[in-house]
Structure formats: structure tokens, C-alpha cells
């Protein structure tokens, strides 16, 4: 299901998503936004087309003499199996259990292997709970789910580089606008703002940092997007 959204990633962020240069933390968050946003899906397809066009200009590097022959051997071997195609390595995701969840899109729930009710939240500050999502390696940034009660802002944190926030439930607002389910806020560390959760329900957000976030304290002051950790 796609939504009519007001806030999208920066085109530079979508470009890096399309060419595979975003760290896992940011990439996962952008993919989750795409679940909601048809306009950004279209944009990514165009940016992939740009990648295809640039591929035509890449300086070629000669393949070894045996490379094509090996490929043709594989070609024959696969064809001989039963005359059809091996789907063994396709759609590996399909083997993951499907976790239905009203809040977390499949991009998240299937990889986490749980729905929002099963998330082992940790206390972070009064009114704020956090779950740090494990990533394949530490150099792939920092990805967290936050659950914030209405009327709260976030603790101060330090970070570097790009920071993305995606609303999954509830809403928050800051100097730049109001953010609801599916909306994304894309800022770098030069931006300062003070987001506060609004509405009657807890605000659940996915937040991604290019680098590991360091929480400085649990005071009320807020910096970046939702967080500006």
C-alpha cells in the first residue's frame, strides 16, 4: 500500500540507494520508505536507468580467457538439469517466515523475524524506548527503532554524516513540518531542529545514522530530525 506522503528522501540519498553506495543502516530505511512511496519507487527506477547508462561508459577490463567458457559450461549444466531454470538462488527471502505486522512493513518485520509487539525495547529516557537493530557489521552505520510517548522530544546525541528518520506510527513535528506514517526526514549534521511527538498514540520511528550514534545524555534538548542523535 502506498501513501500520499509529504516528506521524501533527498534525491542525493535516493541516488546512492540506487547505485548501492548507502550503508546498510540508511539503505534499509530508504527501502522501508519505498514500501510506502510510489513516487520514490519511480525515482529510484530512473536513477537505476542512469546507472545502466553509465555502465555503458565504464572502462572495460578484459575477462580471462576461461571466463566465458566457464560461464558457458554453467549455462549447459543448468540447462541439462531439466531443461528449465534453477530457481534455487532466487528469492531467498521467500524462505524467511512471513511476519505479518500492521506497523512494520515486510522489509523490516521479515528480516527482524518479529512484529512490533515482540520487539525487546530498552528504556532510554522517560517516555522513550529504543531497540538497536543488529546489522551485519559495525561499519554499516546505526539503525534503531524508537518508541516515544506523545509530547516528548528526544535526548541529545552526537553523530556524523547523514541521518534519516522514518515514521512508522504516530507523528512528530519540528521547524520543518509534521511527519506521519511513511514520511521521511533526511538531514545531515549541519541541520538543527527540535522535533516533538504529537497526537494521542506513541510515535514509532526507524532512525538510521551513517555512523554509530553516541548518546550524550538524557536531557530534553533535541538536535537533529527526530532525533539528531
Amino acid at each position: 500500500m502506498t501513501y500520499s506522503l509529504n516528506h521524501h528522501p533527498d534525491e542525493a540519498t535516493l541516488m546512492s540507494y540506487a547505485n548501492g553506495t548507502l550503508k546498510d543502516s540508511l539503505r534499509t530505511l530508504v527501502a522501508t520508505h519505498l514500501h510506502f512511496c510510489e513516487a520514490c519507487q519511480k525515482e529510484v527506477r530512473l536513477l537505476e536507468e542512469l546507472g545502466g547508462a553509465l555502465l555503458e561508459s565504464v572502462p572495460e577490463v578484459t575477462l580471462s580467457e576461461t571466463c566465458l567458457e566457464k560461464a558457458l559450461d554453467c549455462y549447459d549444466a543448468i540447462q541439462l538439469e531439466d531443461g528449465s531454470i534453477s530457481h534455487q538462488d532466487e528469492h531467498k527471502l521467500s524462505s524467511l517466515p512471513d511476519v505479518k505486522d500492521d506497523i512494520l512493513p515486510p522489509t523490516l518485520s521479515r528480516s527482524l523475524g518479529m512484529g512490533v509487539d515482540d520487539i525487546p525495547w530498552h528504556f532510554m529516557a522517560p517516555g522513550i524506548r529504543c531497540y538497536k537493530i543488529p546489522l551485519p557489521s559495525k561499519d554499516q552505520g546505526d539503525l534503531r527503532l524508537l518508541k516515544i510517548k506523545p509530547g516528548h522530544s528526544l535526548p541529545e546525541h552526537g553523530h556524523g554524516g547523514t541521518e534519516l528518520t522514518l515514521v512508522l506510527q504516530g507523528a512528530y513535528k519540528d521547524e520543518f513540518g509534521t511527519y506521519t506514517r511513511g514520511d521521511i526526514q533526511d538531514v545531515d549534521d549541519e541541520v538543527e531542529h527540535q522535533p516533538v511527538t504529537i497526537g494521542d498514540e506513541d510515535c514509532i520511528c526507524l532512525i538510521a545514522f551513517e555512523q554509530q550514534a553516541h548518546f550524550k545524555g538524557l536531557g530534553p534538548r533535541l538536535l537533529q530530525p527526530f532525533i539528531g542523535m
Binding site: 534525491e11 527506477r45 546507472g51 545502466g52 572495460e60 578484459t62 566465458l68 560461464a71 549541519e190
Partner: protein, 199 residues
Amino acid sequence: MLNVSKSLKRQTGASQLAAVQYMAELLDKIAQHRDKEAFRELFVQYGPKVKGLLISQGTDVETAEELAQETLLTVWKKAHLFSSQKGSASTWIFTIARNLRIDRLRSEKIWGKMVYEIVDQASDEKKQDEIIEEQQRKKKLLDAMQHISEDQYAILELSYIKGLSHSEISEKLDLPLGTVKSRMRLAYGKIKERLKDDL
């Protein structure tokens, strides 16, 4: 780097524009007739490009060759699913190579695969008129890249071909992160401007 960019830009000439349709036809032959000669031709055309791309992005020579081979074999294996629905062979090959590279870099492959699933699914549902539009757009894209400035091309090259993140580009060019992003937006904006009738 500007000199390199310039020479790359010169390579995107009329002959490549004419090749777009031909490559799509090769994919169709592979999909519909399991045509080995068509596969060979596609392999010879794109294998060295994919290998070149991966080496530019920091992959070692041996792995780059392995991944180039795997990329083209994926094209063959999935041609029945995609070829009749994809307008541009190079776009599809680019995305397969991107995904395989990310997979190879991760011990837990799921993170690489997962996040591109949505756009891939959306691509599967393309209609015939969208395919033709995409082929035409590819020609315009190649043309548009010859009309952007060297600086704009350089930033695209660092991002797409060298595989650098915003922060890495910022460090390399000694520019603030915001300036890097704004240059990327500007380059993309210029290209979109030339495609505006198609969007």
C-alpha cells in the same frame, strides 16, 4: 579525473544509442529460445564492463571477474522472468551487479537482498508501453550525459562508477557534505530536465 570523465563521455556516442534496442533483442532471444549465441554476445559485451565497474569500486580483480560471470549467468537464469519486461539490458545488468556486490560484502546476505526487493517487484510489473518508453529514455539519458558539465559528470562518476558514499566524496573533494549532495542533485536535475517530456 576531469580528463578521465571527458574521455568517458566521448564514448557515449551514436553507436551506443543504436545498440540499446539490439541488446534488448539479445535478451529476448535468451529468454524465448535459450539462445546460446545471444548469451555469448551479451557476455562479451557486458562482462568486461561489469568487471571494470566492480574494480573501479574497489573489488579485487579475481572477485570482480567471478561477480561479472555470476551477473551474466543471473541474466541468463532470469531472462524468462525479466527480459520481455525490461526495456534496457544495461539497467538490468547494472542492478544485478550492484546486488551481487553488496551480497558479497555481507556475511549475512539477507541485508543485501532484502532492501531492493520492492523496486525489483515493481519493475516486474512493467507494461509494454513502459518498456518502449524506457528504451527511448535510455537513449535520451545517454544524450543528456553528454550535455552536463564536467563537474556534474565527475560527481556522478564518483558515486556510480567509483562507488563512493556521500561522506567519502566529501572527503575526497574536500567539500562539505551538503555541497556534495547539492552537486548530486544538480547533476540529476540537469539530466531530468532533458527527460522532462518522458517523466
